[in-house]
Symmetry: C2
Amino acid sequence: MNGGVDIKVSPIKKFEPVFYPDSVTLVGASRDPRKFGYLCLKSLIDSKFPGMIYPINPGSSEILGLKSYPSVKSVPGTVDLAIIVVPANLVPAVLRECGRKGVKGAVIITAGFKEAEGSLGTELQDEARDIAEEANIKIIGPNTFGMYIPHANLNASFTPLLSTIKKGDISFLSQSGGMCHTLSYLAMDDGIGLAKVLSLGNRCNVDFADLLEYLGEDPQTRAIAMYIEGIDNPRRLVAMAKEVTKKKPVVAYKTGKSRAANQAAFSHTGSLAGNYELYSAALRQAGVLMVKDSLELLDTAKALAFCPLAKGDRIAVCSPVAGPGIVSADLGQENGLTIAEFSLPTQEKIETILPPVTFRMNPLDMAFARNSGMWKEILKAIINDPGVDAMLLIFVKQEFFDPIIDEVVELAIDLLKTYHKPIVMGLLSPSKIFVQEKNRLQRNRIPVYQTPERAVKALAALISYSKTLGF
Amino acid sequence: MNGGVDIKVSPIKKFEPVFYPDSVTLVGASRDPRKFGYLCLKSLIDSKFPGMIYPINPGSSEILGLKSYPSVKSVPGTVDLAIIVVPANLVPAVLRECGRKGVKGAVIITAGFKEAEGSLGTELQDEARDIAEEANIKIIGPNTFGMYIPHANLNASFTPLLSTIKKGDISFLSQSGGMCHTLSYLAMDDGIGLAKVLSLGNRCNVDFADLLEYLGEDPQTRAIAMYIEGIDNPRRLVAMAKEVTKKKPVVAYKTGKSRAANQAAFSHTGSLAGNYELYSAALRQAGVLMVKDSLELLDTAKALAFCPLAKGDRIAVCSPVAGPGIVSADLGQENGLTIAEFSLPTQEKIETILPPVTFRMNPLDMAFARNSGMWKEILKAIINDPGVDAMLLIFVKQEFFDPIIDEVVELAIDLLKTYHKPIVMGLLSPSKIFVQEKNRLQRNRIPVYQTPERAVKALAALISYSKTLGF
C-alpha cells in the first residue's frame, strides 16, 4: 500500500527522476547501427546528456566510446532512468533488476505488448505494470519511440536527429511516435524550440492524465499540445484537463473516428479510440482547444505559448497587401473573432497618413505606407485603440517593403512590450528569406506564420482560450 | 463592331501576344530602385525575357543597361505588350498611343481607378476600357501587381524575385497580388514550378471568365487555381467554369464573406464580393473544387496537375508510422474517401511478409518492413489490388528507413508508371532533408506533402474531381 505516498507527492517530484535524471542506463545497447540499442545511445550522446550514461550489453565492454556493463546490477553508481530496448519477454526481468537498483523511471521502447495480436503481449504488459508499481517505477511506454527533454539535454528516443531541437516552451504529449516526429520536424522547420516531447505508447502505468497534471505544473511548459488515439480512462483525463486548462492552455488532436482508424488505433497502442464526438465534446467542455490537423496543433500551441492573453475578441488586421488582409478578416470572423471598428481618433489618424486610394478601415490596407515612420504612427494608434484587443500584422517579401523590415520587426516587439496586447504575424515570404527577422520576432514572443490563414486561426485559438478564462 | 471578330478567334490566339509577346515596352521605366518603373524592368531582365525590351522614359536614354525611348511611338520595331506604370491620369493617352503602335496587350500596374474613393477613378477606368476595346488591346489590370509566365521567361510584375520560379503546369488566376505572392512563395518553398500567374486587379476588359477560357485551352496548364474576391459577372464565370472543368481541374478560393471583408474587397479591386454561399454553391455545381486556405489551394492544384485521375474512391494508406496512417484514414473518410478493404490475396501476401505485431490491414502499419524488398512486395500487391483506386504512401525521416529512401522513391515512381493509379506521398521530414528525393518524386508526378493531413486532403480533392468526371 504505497499508493498513499503518491497522494502527498507533487507531480513535479514524482516525475523529476524520469525527466531530469542524473544518470541513465540503456538496457540492450548495441554496436549495430540498425538497432534501437545503437540509435538510442547515439541520441543520448548527440543530445549532450550531461549525466552518467551506462550502456548495458552482456557481450561488450565498450559501445560508442562508452564503457558498457553486463547488467543493470553491475553498474557502479546509482541509476535514475532506464531506457529498455530488449525483447518483450525479457522486459519483466529487466524491470525487476531496475527496481532492485533503485531506478525511478523507465522508457520501454520495445513493442509486442498489449498492442500485439494474441494474449501474450497483454500478459507481459500486466506483469511489467505490477513490477513497476511495486518498485515505484514510472514507465513511459511500452511500445513508444521514447521521449526527449531539450531542457535536460536528454534525448531518450531512437531518433538522434531530434537532439538538435532547441529549448522552448511548448510540450507535446502523444500516443504516437510518428506524430512526435511530424510535430518535431515542423518545429525544426519553424525554428522554434520545444519543452518536452513525450510519446506515451501503450501507457502501462503513466497515462495522459498523469502527464497532463505534470505539465500543468512544469515551469518550463507554457502550452500543452496532445495527440490522442485511444483513451482508457476518459473521465480522469477530462477532469484533469479541466484543472490544467485553468492554469495553462491545452490543445488536443483526437483521431480514431473512422472504423478503420479505430481498429488501427487498438492495434497501434492497445486502446480503442472510442466515441470521437463524445470525447471531443467533453474535452472542449473542459477548456481544451480541439484541432484536426498537425500543423494547426503546432500553430495553435505556438500562439498560446508565446502571446499574452487577449482581453476581448476584437482584432485589427493590418497588411501591406489587401488580399491577405481580406482573407484574414473573413476567416477571423468565421472563427468567432470580431473585426474591430476603429475609434474616431484612430480613423482620423489613419486618414491623415494614408492616401484615399486603398481601404483605410479594418482590415487596413497599408500598401501606401512606404516608410517605417508611417507604420509606426498607424500601428501605434491602432494597438492603443481601446476597441482593439489584438493585432494581426501582415508583412510581405516585396521590394518596396524590404528596406523597412528591420524597423517593422523592432516596432512589433516594442508594441507588444508596451501595450501587452497579442500580436500575431503573417510573414508572406519564401522560408529561406527573412530567417533572422522571423527568429527575432519569435524569440520576442510574436508568433510568425507563412500564410494569413495560419496566422488568423492561431490568433482565434488564443482568443478562444482567453475567453474560457473569462477575458 | 469588332466584337464579331472575337467570336471566331480562339482564346489561345486572342491572348497569344499578351502572354507570349515578341517585344515588350515598359511605359514609365525608371532608374529609381524604389519605383515600379525600375522594379518591373528588373523583373523583365531577371526573368531573361528573350524578346526586345523597350523602356519608355522621356528623360533618359538608357536604363539598367537598355536603350530607352521618349515614347511608345518612337520605338523602332513593333511592340506586342505594354507594361504601364505611369500615373492613372496619363494612362488613357498612353493606351491611345499603344493602339496606334499596334500593341495587343497591356499590363496596367497603376492603381487609382475604380477601386479608389471618388468618381474620377471609375471614369478613368471606363475611358481606358473604351480605348482598349477600340484598339483591340487586352488589359491585365489596372491596379495589379502584374503577371508572370515562366514558360515565356516573362516576369511582367513588380516583384523581380518571382523570376526564379520554375516552369510548371499549375496556373494561378487571382484578384489579389498579395495572394499571388503568397502562393508563389509556397510554390518556391515546395520546389515546384508554375505555368502562369495572372493577377487580374480591377478587370477592366479581361475578367476571370476570359482567362479561365484561355487556361482551359492552354497546353501548358494542367490545373487551374483561382483566388476570387468580387465577381462582376457571376453567371458568365459559372458557365465558363462548367465548360472548363470538363477538360481540366479548377480549384477556387472565394473570400469576401464577412461584412468587413466585403467592403475591403470593393476598395481593393472595385467589386463587391457578393453572396458567398450563393457563388460557392454555383461554382461547386459547375465542377469547381472550393477550398478555404491558400496552402490547400496550392496542395490541391498540385495533386490535380500531377496525378492521373482515380477510377474510384477506395484508398490504401501505407505508412511506416502508425499514427500518421490513422490520421490519414480518419481524415480521408471525413473527406468522402473509402478506406479500401484489401482483397484476400493481398491480405495473405501482407501477412506472409509482416509479423503479427502491428496493424496489417488498411491503414497498413509498415513499421516492420525494414528492407526495400518488403516494401516492394507489399506495395505492389496493394496497388495491384482491384479494390484499391489510389494510394497514400507515407515515409518518415527516421534512421531505420534512411537506407531505403532511394529504393522507395524508385518504387513509387515505378508503381505509378505501371499501374496508373494516383499515388500521393506524405514525406514526414524536416524540409531541408530529402530535398533531392522530394524533387525527384514531384518531377515524376507524385505530389509530396510534409504532413499526412495535407496529403490526404489533396488526394480527396483529386478523387472528388475524378468523380465529377464520372470516374
